[in-house]
């Protein structure tokens, strides 16, 4: 199992992660001015800048700097933030924890609901439950997160003041402090991410319902419940896994808009601040985490598909 499925994919996964960091690193090299000027400000003396550049290793060639960074990164040292002067690791770690918490809630509640809704829409194709669910999904796909979030705030914290509109606890809030303000950002994310899962599940259910084997099973005279659970769902879930994986990767690596609207102290807010302040070490670590999540989610989706799909689990020639 490991040598056949995981090992070759793992190799590609690592290559992908390294390559994407190289891409971001190279892009950041094109920035006018460097971190030394950034830290010391425009009025610093050339001597001071030169000293700092030496300290930060900026006088080395970009390739050498990347190799140095990579070497440190492999030992878990991702450098110090150019803004706060603190180690990057713990700061990003805290943001990652907060984001994962938000993502976890969204995934657990939203994605399972989306799968069920997609199944229902597919089974009731072109009838009213499908029309209703598909319309909701279409709106979810069409309306930007900042609009969803804005409207939710308008509805549930301005018109009916149920939930706080923003996280007030600030950057160092604990999970407990974040909890009360969780519903609105989570709802916004669920709405947007669920739309794709609903549509994929619907399409895939419709495909499977039209397959020869479902036709044959129906002609065996089995009940609809059994038909759906034993014959339809296992095959219909497979193509949906990839969409789920892509959405999880997005939830970890890219919910910038929602986090910044609700002032939620996660990866997205941190990303914005780091890009604005050109804090390369932080940006690189965020890139690594984003790429690792992307690659890991795709890898897990592949493995899950292998586990759920007997064709992959038991190749024809193995006994």
């Amino acid at each position: 199992m490991f040598t056949r499925f995981v090992a070759p994919r793992l190799g590609w996964a690592i290559a992908t992660i390294v390559l994407s960091t190289v891409l971001v690193f190279s892009a950041m090299q094109a920035l006018p001015g460097d971190a030394a000027t950034q830290i010391l400000g425009q009025n610093a003396t050339p001597e001071a800048v030169a000293t700092l550049r030496r300290q930060l290793g900026l006088d080395q060639a970009p390739v050498a700097r990347f190799v140095t960074w990579l070497g440190h990164a492999l030992t878990g040292n991702f450098g110090t933030s150019l803004v706060s002067g603190q180690a990057v690791g713990p700061e990003v770690g805290r943001a990652l924890l907060n984001t994962s918490f938000l993502a976890g809630v969204t995934i657990l509640v939203g994605f399972s609901l989306a799968m069920v809704l997609g199944l229902v829409a597919g089974l009731f194709r072109d009838r009213w439950p499908d029309a209703l669910i598909s319309t909701v999904a279409l709106v979810g796909m069409s309306v930007p997160e900042f609009i969803v979030a804005t409207l939710l705030v308008l509805a549930f914290s301005i018109t009916i003041p149920l939930f706080p509109a923003v996280v007030v606890a600030g950057q160092n809030a604990t999970i407990g402090q974040l909890l009360p303000s969780m519903p609105l950002p989570a709802l916004s994310l669920m709405f947007v991410a669920a739309a794709y899962i609903i549509r994929m599940m619907r399409t895939s259910v419709i495909d499977v319902m039209e397959s020869d084997f479902v036709h044959t099973a129906r002609l065996k005279g089995i009940t609809t419940g059994r038909l759906v659970i034993r014959h339809v769902v296992p095959s219909a879930v497979l193509p949906t896994l990839n969409v789920v994986a892509m959405n999880i990767a997005w939830l970890i690596g890219g919910v910038v808009v929602v986090e910044s609207i609700f002032n939620y102290p996660g990866m997205g807010s941190l990303m914005i601040r780091s890009v604005q302040s050109r804090d390369l070490p932080t940006i690189l670590l965020i890139t690594v985490i984003g790429a690792v999540t992307f690659v890991a989610c795709n890898l897990l989706a592949d493995l899950a598909a292998t586990f759920l799909n007997p064709r992959l689990r038991y190749p024809r020639n193995s006994k």
């Binding site: 099973a217 065996k220 005279g221 014959h231 296992p234 095959s235």
Partner: protein, 631 residues
């Protein structure tokens, strides 16, 4: 017919019209169908594509395509008015009275469920003998044994894709039998299977019918299969039953010109020559009450060219797909000649390597060893980019599937004109190329979607011939066509070979078509030549055991249908053995030497050779029978 009569019949269909709406127009898929079948009888539904035979089969299980509806008439199956059944009544009817064996069991078995679960689902819920899990498993094993699936106990916990096509079909039959139905409907149950597998499955079905005695409905386009299996037959054409009755009567004394034409157009392995093609105009006229003389009614016998120069010489061709250091090569040491004006058939089952050889000759695939020579002088470079323009022009391909051989976005003119322009051919035109294949010049403006299957195949031929080749690779070019269209394409091939001195390498699995068109035959098994000779020699009295197996497995009209392949002979191994004779694992005459030593080339005549360790006398038809009996 009254209701009481209806109860005694297994199937009773009266005045049935099935239709769908195209806009506001009602289009009938079936029209005025009347059918009756008593318990224990076997009804064959025969017709060409689009005749409505599969729709009719679905109706017996109360299943219609979503857009279709019953416009008129009644359908009683096992005493039930099937289109009045709803909900639980319908489920119970399907679960107990009638079962379907689908056309392609590979797609019809649920890929994510184990065989045991799929079989168990089909057992009747009121059947006390399958109440426990252990009882269900033993009943499932019993069913799989009944359909002769090898190693039934181990099969239960496997998934469908772990079986070969023939084995999947056997599982499909077992699943249909699970509820002990009164009526078994089989929709083209052996189409797409190799001829030996088909014979074995049909033999199993015959035995099951003899043992269980249920009524059966068998849908097929193959008159030989119908003749072997069915007590009664209904011939469908364009949604109407044109003729029905006891099989022997209908096939021996057909009354409708369509049945007559269909019977006449089937090529036979026991009779050389291309049969006449079916003339739709004559049948349409008959339907209107008029009479038209048939355009062609005689069998045409082709004569092989004599003393023409070779256009293609293949020596020692070896192809290896394997990346493993030890596996045996996919194609080993193949020698082959095609002369000008000659049609050479390359025959084998799926996996025999016949298409691989064609790809190598076309320069689409590299080789491990071997020399290919064109027109006796030019040695062929391995791949297309290294071949000169004149060489690329000289070798042309015609494909099996006319649907994918033409670019759907290009007009016929663009398709046929391209080789003319690319190879700078003067003095020819698209119209002339179309005329060569009996198509009017006005067809040049059409897109492939506006052509019938036979017309598309003609355009494919026109594109190949327009280049002015000396060798044409024809890969299964008639196997996707209805039998009535087959003959006309075969006649076209013969004419082009004669008039343009074209050498054809005709790749096929269909021995009856080989008998009709080929001059010489090369029989391939797992990438090795086992026999070659003139067409009369191959179909004569001395044959390689593999050729004999293939010939015996062909189901012909009017055969006594006695011999069926022995169990185990219907499964082709996954790859050739590393040593010895490739056929050793299936050969009835196998000896110890066959498993270790490559068989010698034994000349039977100047043109006929067989690669076999057995003495020639054992390969004679009359003696071979007794030799088989000893095993």
């Amino acid at each position: 017919m009254t209701a009481t009569q209806s109860e005694h019949l297994a199937i009773d269909i009266q005045n049935l019209d099935v239709a769908y709406m195209a806009g506001t127009r009602q289009v009938n898929v079936l029209q005025g169908v009347n059918l009756a079948l008593r318990p224990g009888e076997v009804l064959g539904l025969v017709g060409e594509s689009g005749s409505g035979k599969s729709t009719l089969a679905g109706i017996l299980l109360a299943s219609l395509r979503t857009s279709s509806f019953i416009a008129r008439g009644t359908v009683h199956v096992a005493g039930a008015d099937v289109f009045k059944l709803k909900g639980k009544g319908l489920r119970d009817f399907r679960a107990s009275q009638v079962a379907l064996v689908p056309q392609n069991a590979g797609a019809a078995l649920t890929p994510t469920m184990r065989i045991a679960d799929q079989l168990a689902e089909a057992f009747r819920s009121d059947d006390a003998s399958t109440a426990t899990r252990a009882a269900r498993r033993s009943r499932a094993i019993e069913l799989l044994r009944l359909v002769r699936l090898p190693n039934p106990a181990a099969a239960l916990d496997k998934y469908p894709h772990q079986f070969s096509g023939g084995q999947q079909q056997r599982i499909g039959i077992a699943m249909a039998l699970a509820a002990r139905p009164a009526i078994l409907v089989l929709d083209e149950p052996t189409t797409g299977l190799d001829v030996v597998t088909q014979a074995a499955i049909l033999d199993t079905l015959s035995r099951l019918h003899a043992e269980l005695g249920m009524a059966m409905v068998l849908v097929s386009h193959d008159l030989g299969v119908i003749d072997k299996m069915c007590t009664h037959v209904a011939v469908l054409r364009q949604g109407k039953v044109v003729e029905s009755g006891p099989t022997k009567d209908v096939l021996a004394h057909p009354s409708h010109p369509y049945t007559r034409g269909l019977l006449a157009s089937v090529p036979r392995i026991n009779a050389p020559g291309i049969p006449p093609s079916l003339d739709d105009a004559v049948i349409d006229a008959y339907e209107r009450g008029e009479t038209l003389p048939a355009a062609e009614s005689a069998v045409y016998e082709r004569t092989a060219p004599v003393g023409t120069p070779p256009v293609l010489t293949v020596r020692g061709l070896t192809v290896d797909y394997n990346r493993k250091p030890h596996g045996a090569p996919t194609v080993l040491d193949v020698d082959l000649d095609v002369h000008a004006g000659e049609i050479v058939a390359l025959v084998g089952e799926s996996g025999s390597g016949k298409s691989t050889i064609a790809n190598v000759i076309a320069g689409l695939q590299g080789t491990k060893a071997g020399v290919l020579t064109l027109d006796g002088e030019t040695e062929l470079a391995a791949t297309v980019p290294r071949r000169a323009k004149a060489v690329r022009r000289a070798i042309q391909i015609i494909f099996q599937n006319a649907d994918t051989s033409l670019n759907p976005r290009q007009t016929v003119r663009d398709a046929v004109n391209r080789p003319l322009r690319l190879f700078g051919i003067r003095g020819s035109s698209v119209e002339a190329a179309l005329a060569d294949v009996d198509l009017p010049g006005s067809f040049a403006q059409r897109l492939p979607g506006q052509l019938s299957g036979g017309q598309r195949q003609r355009v494919g031929i026109a594109r190949a011939v327009a280049a002015g080749p000396s060798l044409v690779l024809a890969d299964e070019i008639v196997s996707a066509l209805d039998v009535s269209v087959q003959s006309s394409i075969l006649r076209l091939m013969d004419r082009l070979a004669r008039e343009k001195d074209l050498g054809f390498l005709f790749i096929t699995h269909d021995l009856a078509v080989v008998r009709a068109i080929a001059d010489r035959v090369v029989v391939l098994y797992l990438g090795r030549i086992v026999e070659e000779g003139t067409v009369d020699e191959i179909f004569g009295s001395i044959s390689h055991p593999y050729t004999r197996l293939l010939l015996d497995a062909v189901i012909e009209l009017g055969d006594d249908h006695a011999s069926a392949p022995a169990p185990g002979q219907d499964e082709v191994p996954d790859g050739p053995p590393e040593q010895g004779c490739p056929f050793a694992s299936r050969c009835p005459l196998v000896m110890d030497v066959c498993r270790t030593v490559r068989p010698p080339v034994v000349p039977v005549s100047a043109t006929h050779s067989i690669r076999c360790h057995a003495p020639l006398n054992n390969l004679r038809l009359d003696l071979a029978e007794s030799a088989t009996g000893l095993v």
